[in-house]
């Protein structure tokens, strides 16, 4: 154990260390002398975290301990969860001054957190897994300032980078718990002596790597850098005061209101703008399937009369359940069967089957049918059966994991806009 001894700072820093599974820190422990802190609770005496055996050989002593199993981080993660749940809890303690960090061994949970953060931001090679790199961080150095020195680069160095070296918007999402970043926020905020150095520290090259989209608040933020250079910024010319040349081309083709010669001579009841739905209709069974169908058809007729050519320009003729009129009953049944039977298979997507089975119908027609008939009917059914919890966008439950036509899982990539850490139901199964 690279125990460098502790610095008992004058500003009343309190040791934060995990004493046991319940990880509470007593005031009494904190008041002990610095030598006592060498008897580290976390890890050295093999305290079990979450019932799993800790690697007690200590960091840095044994090369076999380089590749740490994921369980060894659970103590740190538990601590972070605790801090995140109640950042104002005095038992959480606080960070020492930045210049004193190097004196602390990585048996300190806060130190582990900082090292992990550094490691994740340092990663340059797509080859190293995050696991290895984190282990590496523990092994390599307890000296955060060394790590940080390696990374210091001025943003202007990026100016002439070639495209292949630029910082790319990574797709991998950090797989750590949400609370991880929250408590790092806390750590960042607490320490006062971060200085402006951190602002200049760049995250370095990041290929398909995790943890580049970091949201650590506070003065230590090692945020995602905005790429700079001719490959990224637009060419904005200086403003000329000369009169703008009126350019009548490419202003769009007017579809509505209709051209004069096209103006509809039919008498159409002009509905006041924004009237909304009528309170009552004359139907025998208001709200029934027939009533709805009648009124929708009635409205559709009115719209068609009013819009004239615009009706076709906007493709209203291929909207709504009327689309089914151009499909045979047999085709409709087959469509339904294909969707239902393929929805639970992970590798097959019903779209592939649909394309295969309907070679004469083009993709647009199939998509059109899907949105205008299939989904609408499904919604109609859901509305009447259980209107409380429906979502016509929720295809995951029925249609399998997210992916494109070729079965590639988009949501496998962390850092994807798909993956919202809070919306776990969207993440890959």
């Amino acid at each position: 154990m690279t125990n460098k001894g502790l610095f008992n700072s004058d500003d009343g820093w309190v040791l934060v260390a995990s004493a046991s599974d319940d990880e509470t820190v007593n005031e009494e422990e904190n008041k002990r002398g610095s030598e006592d802190f060498g008897e580290e609770r976390y890890g050295v005496d093999g305290g079990n975290i979450d019932g799993r055996e800790m690697d007690t050989s200590g960091v840095g002593e044994d090369s076999a301990s380089r590749k740490r199993k994921p369980e060894c981080y659970s103590g740190m993660l538990d601590w972070i969860t605790k801090v995140a749940k109640d950042p104002c809890d005095p038992t959480n303690g606080s960070l020492p001054e930045r210049h004193n960090w190097k004196y602390y061994g990585c048996y300190q949970l806060w130190k582990q957190v900082l090292l992990v953060r550094d490691a994740m931001l340092l990663r340059r090679n797509a080859d190293s897994t995050s696991q290895e790199t984190i282990s590496q961080a523990f092994f390599d150095s307890n000296d955060i300032s060394t790590l940080q020195k390696k990374q210091k680069m001025h943003p202007s160095l990026y100016d002439d980078r070639k495209g292949s070296e630029r910082l790319r918007c990574s797709k991998r999402l950090l797989s750590a718990k949400d609370s991880f970043s929250k408590s790092c926020d806390r750590i960042g905020v607490e320490s006062s002596s971060s200085g402006s150095q951190c602002d200049e520290v760049c995250a370095g090259e990041q290929s398909n790597s995790t943890a580049d989209s970091v949201g650590f608040a506070g003065n230590f933020r090692r945020k995602k850098q905005i790429p700079l250079g001719p490959l990224f910024q637009a060419d904005v010319p200086d403003f000329c005061e000369e009169a703008y040349k009126i350019d009548c081309k490419w202003l769009g083709t007017r579809i509505w209101p209709l051209e004069k010669r096209e103006r509809n001579k039919n008498l159409i009841e002009r509905v006041p703008i924004g009237r909304g739905r009528r309170e009552s209709c004359g139907c025998q069974f208001p709200g029934s399937v027939e009533c709805v169908r009648f009124h929708v058809a009635e409205k559709r007729m009115m719209v068609k009369l009013e819009l004239g050519t615009a009706f076709y320009g906007w493709k209203f003729n291929s909207m709504g359940e009327e689309v089914a009129l151009s499909w045979t009953k047999e085709d409709e049944n087959k469509f339904q069967d294909i969707v239902k039977s393929n929805c639970l298979l992970s590798e097959k997507y019903f779209w592939d089957e649909l394309f295969k089975f309907f070679p004469r119908k083009d993709r647009e027609a199939l998509v059109n049918y899907y949105y205008n008939v299939f989904l609408l009917r499904r919604r109609g059914y859901q509305n009447r059966n259980d209107a409380s919890d429906i979502d016509s966008d929720d295809e995951e439950s029925e249609f399998g994991p997210v992916g494109n036509r070729f079965g590639q899982n988009a949501a496998n990539s962390p850092g994807s806009i798909f993956c919202s850490p809070k919306k776990s139901h969207l993440n890959i199964r």
Partner: protein, 434 residues
């Protein structure tokens, strides 16, 4: 306030059947639903509706690199496996799948924004709307976050031919990184983005401290927010920031990206805004009486997207819409209430007052830095805005000033909150003064 704004609205019937792929959350079909809903409320009778021209590759290359545009034009789902290097280079294939008619889709939505900008430049309308646009993540040389071509950048470049300064406002839940990056070095475009930041939320940029570089320093404003922000908090902050920005920057035109994923209940978002709250922002920007280009953006619960953008079309047309949705082909999507209102979600607002206040202060601090910028022709700002009541240098640095006192020196107690500090219940009329 102008008596009547002339509105140009852009729509192309071909967007309805664009399909990103199975279970992909971006569904252009939502544009079809929006258009339908707009018509069912008869709003088409108050505006002119245009079909945009499909933007030519050379127009797209006004911003994007020529090779990227060319690749987008040529790649198809059947050939993509042959170009795996390029697919990686241009960031295609995962979030941004290659699908049938991809390029045509890009041409439509980009053409809409470009045509909208041109109509505004030619003063043929006061407000131009293109709900198909607003794809703010696309970068110069790559796709990102479901966005392939950045129509906003192209539209802004068009507006810059006629206006010295353009203000870009983005209320999508995601940071408007593509637009900010494109204009990071210039003071001719001020980008202001309100977004969720942190917890590794996409795209990861949008820090409060990112303010621009070189001539563009302090011409990028980021308002990073946490989960669950509600109407009151969001609108207050929005109003304070935007009115200050417009006062100081004095843009010739405004581009407003209205991503609907900042609404409560969005599939990918995590805010708690109602449609009224979202639309209040649109109303405020309209009230600034500047040439205005409004686009769509994110929004992954398509019924809510349709509701939101219909309400906002109404706002731009000064038409108050009743909640009851009239009969239309897609009425079933709006069950069970068939109302324009979306259900609110019980959600904790993680944005504390002090947090929002500190953001506001920092933004104001940054804005002060452009007061004296000679390259931007500005009126002289009345002095009482930025001369504090106290002289910081004369204060005793060793004497502790408690936080409240410190805050008071920078901002009056009631500047951010109406009245006392702890008003939690007075949201009823918050939108009315827009």
């Amino acid at each position: 306030m102008r008596s009547k704004d002339k509105i140009a609205y852009f729509y192309d019937g071909d967007v309805g059947n664009v399909y990103f792929g199975p279970s992909h959350p971006m569904k252009p079909h939502r544009l079809c639903m929006t258009h339908h809903l707009v018509l069912s409320y008869e709003l088409h009778n108050k505006m002119e509706i245009y079909r945009p021209h499909k933007a030519y590759p050379v127009e797209l290359a006004q911003f994007h690199s020529a090779d990227y545009v060319e690749f987008l034009n040529r790649i198809t789902p059947d050939t993509q496996s042959l170009f795996s290097n390029e697919m990686v280079k241009y960031n295609l294939g995962e979030d941004c799948p290659v699908f049938e008619n991809l390029f045509e889709f890009c041409q439509i939505y980009a053409g809409g924004t470009i045509d909208a900008a041109r109509r505004l430049n030619n003063q043929l309308c006061d407000i131009a709307i293109n709900w198909a646009g607003g794809l703010h993540h696309a970068k110069k040389c790559e796709a990102s976050g479901f966005c392939y071509v950045n129509d906003l950048v192209l539209g802004i470049l068009e507006l810059l031919k006629h206006h010295a300064r353009v203000l870009y406002i983005d209320i999508d839940v995601h940071h408007g990184d593509g637009v900010e990056e494109a204009f990071y070095f210039t003071d001719r475009v001020m980008t202001v983005s309100f977004h969720k930041y942190g917890d590794l939320f996409f795209p990861g940029t949008g820090d409060l401290k990112d303010v621009g570089e070189r001539e563009g320093k302090f011409y990028a404003i980021n308002v990073p927010l946490k989960d669950g922000i509600d109407d009151t908090s969001f609108y207050r902050l929005f109003k304070l920031v935007i009115t200050k920005v417009v006062e100081i920057y004095q843009p010739g035109a405004i581009v407003l990206q209205c991503g609907a994923d900042s609404l409560a209940g969005d599939r990918l978002g995590c805010f708690n805004l109602s449609i009224d709250g979202h639309a209040a922002c649109v109303r405020l920007v309209k009230s600034l009486n500047l040439p205005l280009l409004v686009t769509g953006g994110g929004g992954y619960t398509k019924e809510n997207v349709a509701r939101c953008w219909t309400v906002e079309t109404g706002v731009l047309l000064d038409a108050e819409l009743p909640d009851e949705i009239p009969e239309n082909e897609y009425i079933k999507y709006f069950a069970p209430d068939y109302s324009l209102k979306i259900p609110s979600v019980p959600m904790e607002n993680l944005n504390s007052r002090s947090y929002l206040n500190s953001i506001r202060q920092q933004v104001h601090e940054n804005l002060r830095s452009i007061q004296h910028s000679p390259s931007v022709q500005l009126q002289e700002v009345p002095p009482d805005f930025y001369i504090p009541d106290f002289d910081e240098d004369e204060q005793n640095p060793d004497e502790r000033v408690d936080r409240h006192m410190k805050d008071k020196q920078i901002q009056r107690d009631d500047e951010y909150y109406g009245g006392d500090n702890d008003h939690d219940h007075d949201h009823d009329h918050i939108m009315d003064d827009a």
